[in-house]
Symmetry: C2
Subunit: 368 residues, 2 copies
């Protein structure tokens, strides 16, 4: 059985238990998870249609037929711009709407207008949320997913190495962004997972700064945060280096962040609360005297989406499960010194953690 | 009265007529239209809250407070990550939910989950769609909007001129994309309006092709489609040139597209059906013998969003109104010759059309 069929079987097992007659899964991330097909249909209909009785199928705009058939082992049905997409879906299902008691949809993803369209055809049905179940499934990655995530992480390491090789006097932040994105394209990445961040000097102290025309100068801390999407799966890495030289203060915050990153990784194993991972990093930074300068959660889940559960923050009592991947990215940001963040992608294994990103973490002082 | 206040007054006039007690407008495009504030709150709450009786306000995540207060002349209220955002909104409104009979929301934008949150607080209320009214308002741009759109179009012209100056042997498509995006950044653009398209030779014949490592060669048709966002408003331009030389067949399709573009522009004036503009272009291309190779609608509305009403296609009987801006972008795509598309941004005036984009349209043969 393919990985995709196995995922649909799990969904069906839940539908059986929860007495759900029909699931219509329409978010691009969950459609990809269940079929391997990634599409962005804009205002058009796209979905995996899973009846409790009967054959599941993928339903896409006719424009996407060839791409969908090439990757998806479910039957692919299509609709054109002049079709009534919901009525056609009903015909494809070939069942009496009156026999459909409960329908699972993604309530955070589906719009009110779209749900009213469905409701017009299934007027007696109750809508329940499919998201909790799909989120739980995606929380534990299977081997196919992990193989892709390891590859995405490897490419992120290579992109970081390439970026640091491009730092010469006169170079501006956004030029390094472009060099990174060209590199990723040449390596065959699908795309960047988010807007690449290259921040120098005082700008490295802005956790949400945007790269611009700031030139990289001797004495800067230089922070690079990038993510690669490989066959639909994301990586996310941050490394910070010193340019030409490092002051004592820069060295001090660097070492605190590095130890916090390592302490958090050491805290990862199945059964531990997500909050404990955050706390492990935060305690190290507090001890070093920088508690107020670590202003965000320690990390976030990672997979098909760049931000997915679990959120790794101090109030999340959720216990870690094998197969979950998340970032660990403590940081210290000081307006007059600069910012340091060190981010890895970490997989919860049966007994502890596997760190997917491998670029070195000792303080690196770039020749300049 | 500011342009933003005038827009809210128009919305209020509609609410009066349609007996709507409260409007909650949450899509980033409509929030910007009504307040000048552009934000992407991801999963957080953001909205313009307009009670029929009482003071309208902007409601944003606390992270966005400073940015919102800097641009918005409405009162700005905020919520934090630990607040119940809907309950807090209710407190800010200071009214009895039982007195709210009809609430206007954007049904295509608001998710089922979000609407259920609102419904839990306004259990007796009826939800109506605010989108039709807001779309109608945005269809006729005011002078403030037109000033920004003229500026965005001017920058698009300059970016095209810059791009064609960068064409030398060995240059790849994606390198030209990067050169364009750097140029736009240096000019102060907010961002590109969509993924810039630079397609050479056989790839120019793919209306949805993606720029890659294809090198630009003598004899290619080279198609560049780009859009600039200036203070929240989009431009969208396409120009096609010949590299080094042009075959007779390339000249023939170029001239047909150029004449189609001009015929469609000549057809624009208030009261004309959108379909007539499409037909004007299509007739010229059919006469030249390429009817089957013009495979898309002639254009789309433009403004805060890169695609907004009206859709300019052969079945749209909607009559054009002064102040509407849309693209006119006929094309001919031949697998063995290449593709040509020529796209302008056109404003419907009181008596005809103003073409916002100004880059020349005579066939240009780049030295190579």
């Amino acid at each position: 059985m393919s990985y995709y069929r196995a995922r649909i079987s799990k969904l069906l097992a839940w539908m059986e238990t929860a007495k759900i007659d029909l699931a219509i899964v329409t978010s691009p991330a969950n459609v990809m998870y269940l079929t391997g097909f990634y599409g962005d249909p804009h205002e058009r209909w796209m979905g995996v249609v899973v009846p409790r009785q009967g054959e599941p199928f993928l339903y896409v705009p006719v424009l996407d037929r060839n791409k969908a058939e090439a990757v998806c082992d479910l039957p692919v049905h299509t609709h054109g711009d002049e079709d009534d997409a919901v009525r056609l879906l009903l015909e494809l299902l070939g069942c009496d709407p009156a026999g459909i008691g409960r329908i699972a949809i993604e309530k955070t993803h589906m719009s009110v207008a779209r749900s009213e369209q469905v409701q017009a055809h299934f007027s007696g049905s109750i809508f329940v949320n499919a998201e909790e179940r799909l989120t739980a499934m995606r929380l534990q990655k299977d081997e196919q997913e992990l193989a892709l995530m390891r590859r995405a992480a490897r490419l992120a390491d290579e992109a970081v190495a390439f970026a640091f090789s491009q730092i010469v006097p006169g170079r501006m932040e956004y030029e390094i962004v472009q060099a990174i994105e060209s590199f990723a394209k040449r390596q065959g990445a699908d795309r960047m997972a988010f807007d690449t961040m290259v921040l120098a000097g005082e700008k490295s102290a802005l956790p949400h700064g945007a790269p611009g025309t700031r030139e990289i100068r001797r004495g800067d801390l230089l922070l690079i945060d990038l993510g690669i999407v490989w066959q639909g799966y994301c990586s996310d890495i941050t490394r910070t280096v010193a340019v030409g030289e490092a002051s004592d203060r820069q060295r001090a915050i660097y070492e605190a962040v590095r130890k916090a990153n390592e302490a958090a990784i050491a805290a990862v194993k199945p059964g531990v609360e997500a909050a404990a991972v955050d706390r492990a990093a935060r305690d190290v930074i507090a001890e070093a005297g920088f508690a107020d300068s670590f202003t965000h959660r320690v990390g976030h889940g990672l997979g098909i989406e760049i931000h997915e559960p679990p959120s790794v923050h101090g109030k999340n009592g959720q216990r870690l499960l094998p197969g979950t991947v998340f970032t660990i990215e403590p940081g210290i940001y000081l307006a007059d010194v600069g910012g340091v963040r060190i981010e890895d992608d970490v997989l919860v294994t049966e007994s502890g953690a596997e760190v997917l990103t491998a670029y070195p973490k000792e303080l690196q002082i770039l020749p300049f």
